[in-house]
Subunit: 631 residues, 2 copies
């Protein structure tokens, strides 16, 4: 066997070199250090049905050091899952084999990697899923040694031990060399082992080029119960080709053709070994549990209810209906109200403590294995996991994200706790949906819509209790909006959402008292945005829009509104934005809304200013406005 494994490992190295040299870029040396580990793991341990990569009993393998994907693709070839021609298409436009693994095009991988330090937390989510579903699959996460500098890795170490995830195995490819020089710990395997042990893991240092030692270590990991295992493999970057082995300055560089030939020769030439990866043991049917009837909470229109509370109520109701729904929170479940799911279904609530990065990545790990995943914390603290959210979209995951305590309206806690950039951040996630409800029934209905929505969705909730505006029967399509106030004499359209919608309604009332009619739009769907309603309103309200948001002026509601007018085809309105422009402090919510210039009084003032704007010569919009004002 050892001979076959050695041959296979040599083939993985040769193919890593061939593919990267053909591509003219890539990371052969980082692939070569890992080849022996991958060879043993794939041939002796992994149970995976390549015909059905998403089969629920498959072991999972996450290549956290995504730049080493040539060795993974080479293993796929050796397992018969891709052919040599495809292997050599690495990094070419249109190839499934991208520079870092991407499940959008390559379903053989579960998640996208390449932003280092995220794989282990994804593995935590996968191992939690195995336990929840009572399946026997194991999760292997291969990391680089450099990436252990990422704090997200230690969040994952901590959570894996906390949840005693003995089906999780971390494989650290300790090749000593990072991108620009030696790692902090070099080849000090015992230092890694000590850290892993201090975080509650079973850990051992292993020679990563000794096939027998790798085999024994993987067997030990498999036999270890009650805690996850971390194997710290001492390896050489570029192992197998003496010119580059353990030499600096060979990170992320393909071998030139002559050197590639020399390396392949030193490695014993090209091979074309095939091996059959073991199939998983099927433990139970793979069908998803059926959804039951949904009993969404409803609220009376004379109540005052915080949308964050409704998030929790609806989450619990959705949890009743969907047995595959889970929620994760970062130790603020009594503020975000995800505790409602914990109370209703404690087995499907996962406390991630104050570790937002791990929360998101573990959520991704569960999501790509088929769970309906909701994650929540304060909107401000989601910024801690922005890279993980960005990568969740690259992973083609469906993840429902809730950020509570949005904006200055949270009051006394001050700016560190105020989500003021969350809309900007979440709009700029690939294919995302961004929702910002203002009312209890709306929040509940949007939650019901989210649960079946693909991709990354974001729901922004408010700390304060606000009046219920809508009947429980009202519908709120994603991409829609609600025109809450309108008349034939409207001179300005107020566009608001969430907390500022209530200010806009108050401003409407005050303006009405002084004989000024304005339209009020509840723009609860920030992305996609309701282009049609906004354009219609602009036409009908003298081309004047006033957007009011409890968010920085950049990237939020106003930018979303302007996007609706930027396909280059329509006549365009005047748009003024009221938003947070200077750093808020502590104070009562109403004091802070006033100080930011986004309360009813400032809206009234801005409407008057907008009405009084001199009409640009010959502008039809204002021409119309004048005509209509004359009515």
């Amino acid at each position: 066997m050892a001979d076959t494994l050695a041959e296979l490992a040599a083939q993985l190295r040769v193919d890593s070199i061939r593919a990267t040299t053909a591509a003219g870029s890539g990371h052969p040396s980082s692939s070569m250090s890992a080849a022996d580990i991958v060879a043993v793991l794939f041939q002796k341990y992994l149970r995976f049905d390549f015909q059905h990569p998403h089969a629920p009993d498959n072991d999972r393998f996450v290549l956290s050091k995504g730049h080493a994907c040539p060795v993974l693709y080479a293993a796929f070839k050796a397992a018969g899952a891709i052919d040599d021609a495809e292997l050599l298409s690495l990094r070419q436009f249109g190839s499934r084999l991208e520079g870092h693994p991407n499940p959008h095009v390559l379903p053989l991988v579960d998640v996208a990697t390449g932003s280092l330090g995220q794989g282990l937390a994804i593995g935590v989510g996968m191992a939690l899923t195995a336990r929840l579903d009572q399946r026997r699959f194991r999760t292997y996460v291969m990391m680089g040694d450099s990436e252990t500098a990422e704090g997200s890795v230690w969040e994952a170490f901590d959570k894996a031990a906390h949840y005693q995830l003995d089906t999780l195995c971390a494989l650290i490819d300790m090749n000593r060399l990072g991108q620009s020089g030696e790692t902090e710990l070099g080849w000090n395997g015992e230092a890694y082992v000590a850290r892993a042990r201090a975080f509650g893991w079973h850990a051992l240092a292993v020679d990563g080029h000794d096939l027998g030692a790798i085999d024994r270590a993987l067997a030990e990991a498999q036999a270890t119960k009650g805690k996850p295992t971390c194997l710290v493999f001492k390896t050489e970057k570029g192992h197998g080709y003496s010119l580059i082995a353990n030499h600096e300055h060979w990170h992320g560089k393909p071998l030139p053709e002559d050197k590639a030939r020399e390396a392949i020769q030193e490695l014993g030439g090209e091979r074309n070994l095939r091996f059959a990866v073991r199939k998983p043991e099927v433990t139970k049917p793979s069908a998803k549990p059926a959804a039951g009837p949904l009993k969404l909470p409803t609220y009376a229109t004379d109540e005052k209810v915080a949308t964050r509370k409704v998030y929790g109520d609806a989450l619990a109701a959705l949890g009743d209906a969907h047995p595959d729904l889970v929620a994760l929170d970062a130790e603020v479940s009594n503020s975000t109200y995800s505790e409602e799911l914990r109370k209703a279904h404690p087995d499907r609530y996962f406390e991630m403590y104050i570790a937002e990065q791990n929360m998101v990545s573990s959520g991704v790990g569960m999501a790509v294995l088929g769970k309906r995943v909701f994650v929540s914390t304060f909107a401000a603290f989601l910024s801690r996991a922005y890279d993980q959210l960005r990568m969740a979209a690259v992973s083609n995951a469906t993840l429902h994200v809730c950020g509570s305590h949005a904006g200055v309206s949270i009051g006394e806690d001050g700016p560190s706790q105020m989500g003021l950039e969350d809309l900007a951040m979440m709009r700029a996630v690939a294919g995302s949906t961004v929702l910002y409800p203002s009312d209890a029934n709306q929040t509940a209905r949007l939650m019901a819509a989210l649960v079946d929505l693909r991709g990354i969705s974001y729901l922004r909730t408010t700390r304060a209790k606000t009046p219920v505006l809508y009947a429980p029967t009202e519908e709120f399509p994603i991409g829609g909006s609600k025109v809450l106030r309108r008349s034939d004499r409207d001179v300005v359209t107020l566009v608001a959402a969430g907390i500022t919608l209530h200010e806009a309604l108050e401003a409407h009332a005050r303006l009405q008292d002084s004989g000024v009619a304005v339209r009020v739009i509840d723009l609860y769907s920030v992305k996609p945005v309701d282009v049609k309603t906004l354009r219609q309103a602009a036409k009908e309200t003298q081309g004047r829009l006033l957007v009011v948001e409890d968010h920085w002026a950049e990237g939020g509601l106003a930018d979303a509104v302007l996007e609706a007018f930027s396909d280059g085809t329509e006549p365009l309105p005047r748009v003024k934005r009221l938003a947070v422009r200077k750093l808020p402090g502590s104070g009562k919510p109403e004091e802070l809304l006033a100080a930011a210039g986004i309360d009813a009084a400032h809206i009234v003032e801005a409407v008057h200013a907008l009405r009084d704007t001199p009409a640009p010569e010959g502008s039809r919009a204002t021409g119309t406005a004048k005509t209509r004002r004359a009515h």
Copy 2:
């Protein structure tokens, strides 16, 4: 002494209760657990000149568990730095004593805290500054136990040991209880100690309510050489008032007035002790070193140079001129080119390895102590530190951030490595400046401007070499733009920056060949944006703008352009945006620019479509356009 300390600690508890009860919100229980530690530290160890809080020999105290600020404010009162009336203004609108410490209003604190897990990394930056400046001050960071779940904390543990920062002391207030329940490790002080030791620290568990033990532990920390010290204090949340001590459900809740009276009685009543904090030993003059002459690099207009390379060249030149300039990088200095500073001034380059969060927070720690700080990594990976960047602004820090490898134009590495949300993210930072140069000389000049700019600035650089467009003498004011192509017959304005500017120039050439004149604006200053030039161009080019950006459609260049037209004073021009809208893959840069629809060919096509747009009836802009086209 012990009696005085006990009295002082009781006063800190009483005052924490008084202030939060007066405020009607806040965190008395989290303050009470820490009171004994704060009492001993402030009375016996801290050397701090309250008259000159920024004196460079002052010890630094960072309250990473910012929500416990009532105990800090109470200590300020006991030290005579604030009076009782101010203490009781806690959390009121306009008070310097916000719900979490904020140096914008309270210069007694160096940084804003409240987003947990950031203080220790800030402390790392401060201790590095002490070493760099050869000053003897010590840095104390008080953390909550809950916040050790944040990976950023372990990045800081790792860096502090790596740099052998023995002037740094971490104080963990292990009060066992988080916001929503017990922490993962409860009162297992040895578990914390084991983790800290595994990360290279001297660490010990201490009774946090035994004043003598606290005293001895702080003395031991002071005497420990070669490594930082972590003191894990076992405490009770709410210690001193039996009703709440060590009880759940008292996180973040002020005592009602009757309970406050009861608590104060149990604590022995109000006191008004004063003590004098020891003054620091002045080791050398505090004046900043004078800047020398700046020899900025220049580039010939027949060269092709990557703006990322110029970042490094200019950084080294600025480092020559400014002895107080430092740079930090996250192990990609050979990609961002911050290695140029490392080569020129190795003592002022700090390798943070792959730990972006620590890089930013340590940069903040150095910045608030007076260094000119530049931090750099791939633009995509800055998303890892978005919370830290957000908080840097709340800390009123001046930090220069560079993100390289922006956009799809990086090519084969694929979407995980592409910065496509960085403009959205950095625009939505309080008071930020966002720059995106397209050319070598421009980059160098902007770097020279940045070095004296306050606040958070962001420079986006490009991987590929691009033609030099500007002479070295050209000036680039922040908030400006450059009109690179113009004629009296322009029918559309192309607005671009960075890589897409070169595509726009190529499109201009192609359009010119087919007799279509377009204006080309280099919008190198994304925030603030050049409102005047954009408006002028809109007026002069038939109200038509085409914005082209290598960034998601949301939050970037197009949103910045539209912002220039959204003060409500004028109708918007027609603005069409070409931006990245679907997930890119791997490929050659030109293939990916084409696939994203942002290359010269797509710009040409979009210009034709925009020209052919039917004129909105009566619109003056298009009326003008027609007239002018007829010329």
